[in-house]
């Protein structure tokens, strides 16, 4: 993975000093609340319900075991012994003290980490595929591209105060696991017919209050131009994006208002002045950054016959759900589930983090990733060590064999922690997980994504969940609106609302009824989402609402 040189380290150290000074001036009343706000946000610091919340960047989800240990120590020392992995591959601490935040940042800088641009109206953490570098369907490793974009976007002077936040996602696989169509800019790397690396550029996608699937602004951009082309897009957005109404300030609104053709025309006009300019990438720089992401020292390992475990039902289930095929024979990628019952989705205790760091050291070249589904990934595990790993991970409640199943719920922190939320989301996840605790049944239902957001900011990505749950506020009480048919990946789509919202008590039963309809109506081998797409939402609606509708 990427290693800091003096330039990287100096920038992060200088940031700690800059932020400490800004906080000092704020506490000294030299900066007003309003003036301090964008400064603290661009350092990941929110003022939340109970305490400030600090969001720490995990660039494109990559962590070393050393870094994870540091996160665990910070959770112990400055928080309440746990952290929350977010849908943008970052980690959040919910209970730090304001005056401790410079100390936390200082400790993070020791392990090449920071909280730069994890919030605020700027370019946020670049996200990508959690199986990057290991998955067999990969065409281009997106991590070094993401690193190049990370460096370029860090303290970008022109885009420090955009109309609203800006998210970029990169994929290099046939199957998109990075949600590129739901980002402000989505970059899909591939090779063209003559084998040259090219980028399909999507713009104006996003979830939130107005969910939109992105539009293609360029079918085949040559890779050298990635930064200057993004710069042109951002300049048009920075100048023309709305700043008078924060709900209409995302780039998706601008692209919709202008139409993609007019938007493209403006971008091309700006681009003409910077194309081939100093920020154009060359082969040498590409190779330099790529050299940090070379394959680890894989052993010549044989695929092993896992038949001897056939009687161990739990292990077999885990193997089928929580491991992913690998480009190297004899290896698999393992997903450690942070979705055990009675565990807030994405939360990990310091103890669990230490354990995962240990597992990474032992079985996966001391590296791991965070997925946007809020689980932890050991990307390069030898098949012959899977059983051993499983047994050890089990001790820390990390082996729930539910990856991709109904209880692998994607969920924001919601009203328990977040001051933006209309409703709680964690208790909804828990009540659904409790009702569906029969693993055999869950495996029979198969692949389903269930996403919960506590408000229309959609941090739980509810629009693209096969089943989406959105917390809404009605006359001061918490209600939940349900959508069906959302999807991510290459066939991304936005879910449809099935009707009036429900109380929290009703929610598990509503999900049960939806699943019942699927079980009755499905063709053999048909997945939930395909069934919904085939029969439409009507049958679900009439079961859920009965005679009321």
């Amino acid at each position: 993975m990427y290693k800091y040189d003096q330039i990287d380290q100096k920038l992060v150290d200088e940031r700690v000093n800059q932020y400490s000074d800004q906080l000092h001036r704020y506490l000294n009343k030299e900066l007003s609340d309003e003036e301090f706000r964008p400064l603290r946000l661009q350092n990941g610091l929110y003022i939340q319900r109970h305490a400030p919340m600090l969001r720490v960047a995990i660039p494109y989800g990559m962590l070393s075991s050393k870094q994870l240990r540091k996160l665990a120590d910070i959770a112990d020392k400055f928080d309440r012994g746990y952290g929350h992995f977010s849908t943008r591959q970052n980690i959040q601490f919910n209970w730090p003290k304001l005056e401790n935040t410079p100390k936390i940042l200082k400790e993070l800088a020791e392990v090449e980490m920071h909280a730069i641009q994890t919030s605020g109206n700027c370019i946020r953490n670049i996200t990508t595929d959690q199986f990057a570098g290991a998955t067999p369907d990969e065409i281009i490793d997106p991590r070094y591209i993401a690193e190049i974009i990370r460096q370029w976007s860090t303290f970008h002077p022109e885009f420090a105060l955009l109309p609203r936040k800006f998210k970029i996602s990169v994929t290099g696989s046939a199957k998109d696991r990075a949600l590129v169509q739901a980002h402000d800019i989505g970059l899909e790397f591939s090779k063209n017919t003559i084998g040259k690396m090219v980028i399909k550029v999507w713009v104006g996608g996003g979830l939130g209050r107005t969910p939109v699937i992105g539009s293609v602004i360029r079918e085949e951009l040559e890779w050298q131009h990635i930064l200057t082309y993004c710069e042109a897009i951002l300049r048009v957005y920075n100048l023309y994006g709305r700043r008078d109404n924060m709900y209409k300030a995302r780039i998706k609104i601008l692209v919709k208002a202008l139409g993609i053709d007019e938007f493209r025309r403006l971008v091309e006009k700006e681009w003409a002045f910077i194309k081939d300019g100093p920020n154009t990438i060359d082969e040498k720089e590409l190779n330099r950054v790529a050299s940090f992401f070379t394959a680890p020292d894989y052993k010549k390992s044989k695929s092993i016959n896992l038949d001897k475990f056939i009687d161990n039902k739990h292990f077999v289930k885990w193997l089928s759900r929580n491991t992913h095929s690998h480009k190297i024979k004899g290896y698999r990628s393992v997903t450690l589930s942070l979705k055990a019952n009675h565990n807030a989705p994405g939360d990990a205790t310091a103890k669990q983090m230490h354990a995962v760091a240990e597992l990474a050291d032992k079985y996966s070249f001391s590296e791991l990733r965070v997925s946007h589904e809020q689980n932890l990934i050991l990307a390069d595990v030898e098949e012959s060590q899977l059983y051993e790993l499983w047994e050890q991970a089990k001790l820390y409640n990390l082996t729930t064999p539910n990856i991709g199943l109904l209880t692998d719920i994607i969920c924001c922190p919601g009203g328990d922690f977040c001051s933006l939320a209309n409703a709680k989301s964690i208790p909804i996840a828990e009540s659904i997980q409790t009702l569906f605790d029969d693993m055999d049944y869950l495996h029979d239902i198969g692949d389903i994504s269930l996403n919960i957001s506590g408000c229309m900011n959609a941090c739980g990505h509810h629009h693209v969940g096969h089943i989406g749950v959105l917390g809404v506020d009605k006359d001061g009480s918490e209600w939940y609106q349900v959508t069906l048919g959302g999807d991510q990946g290459n066939n991304a789509s936005i879910g449809k609302v099935i009707g009036p919202s429900f109380s929290s008590e009703e929610m598990p039963i509503v999900v049960k009824k939806i699943i019942d309809v699927y079980v009755q109506q499905r063709h053999e081998g048909e997945l939930f989402i395909d069934c919904v797409k085939r029969i439409g939402i009507e049958p679900f609606k009439s079961r859920v609402y009965g005679d009321e509708v």
């Binding site: 330039i7 008078d244 002045f273 920020n279």
Partner: protein, 203 residues
């Protein structure tokens, strides 16, 4: 060294402001509200200033003056000699589209000073305005930011083509100077340091 009592930073030092900024006459402007809230930002391309404001603008008949772009265009003929003497600069606000106006002015570099007014420090359009003036319109003289100009935005302004900063009245310009040095070696190429880090330094 004696310190000059001034709010103006040029490059890296505090200097006296030789220029008189001619503001637009205040006339009753309708306060826009949206869902009960006063709109803080003007939309890009909004009609500004009004014709009435341009017509009513008055300015002294000598000395270095900074006029609003549209006022300058209106009096361009009259100001010919003063322009030649390098006594005229112009300003505009972050939300204004200036491309058409610039076409009426001729060579942009006959003006020793252009200033961009920022009403709210968090209005990042000012950075793109700077960049456009430098790379798209080729302006190579003094570029000033004035209005809600604060220490924590100076580093970005410097990198976006500005080299003159009129710090907000109630803030200390000497303190603001520190903001110009927040980072010693930024990653990306910009207008102060043209090349990105990987081209400047062996990495």
């Amino acid at each position: 060294m004696t310190t000059i009592k001034s709010q103006l930073i040029y490059d890296k030092t505090i200097i006296k402001d030789e220029w008189l900024t001619i503001e637009l006459p205040k006339i009753n402007v309708e306060v826009k509200k949206q869902a009960g809230k006063v709109v803080l930002f003007k939309l890009t391309g909004e009609e500004y200033p009004t014709e009435e404001q341009v017509n009513k603008a008055v300015f002294p008949s000598s000395g270095k003056i900074l006029l609003h772009l549209k006022v300058l265009i209106k009096h361009q003929e009259l100001l010919k000699n003063r322009i030649k003497n390098q006594d005229i600069g112009f300003w505009f606000a972050t939300h204004e589209e200036i491309e058409d106006s610039l076409l009426l002015l001729g060579d942009i570099n006959q003006f020793p000073l252009i200033a961009v007014n920022i009403e709210k420090f968090s209005d990042g359009r000012i950075f793109s305005r700077g960049k456009q003036l430098r790379i798209k319109y080729g302006f190579n003289k003094t570029l000033r930011a004035f209005g809600d100009v604060l220490r924590d935005q100076l580093f970005f302004l410097k990198r976006s083509g500005f080299n003159s900063y009129l710090i907000r009245k109630d803030r200390d310009a000497i303190d603001a100077l520190k903001g110009l040095n927040d980072f010693s070696n930024p990653y990306q190429g910009a207008l102060d340091t043209i090349n990105p880090a990987w081209k400047r330094i062996k990495r």
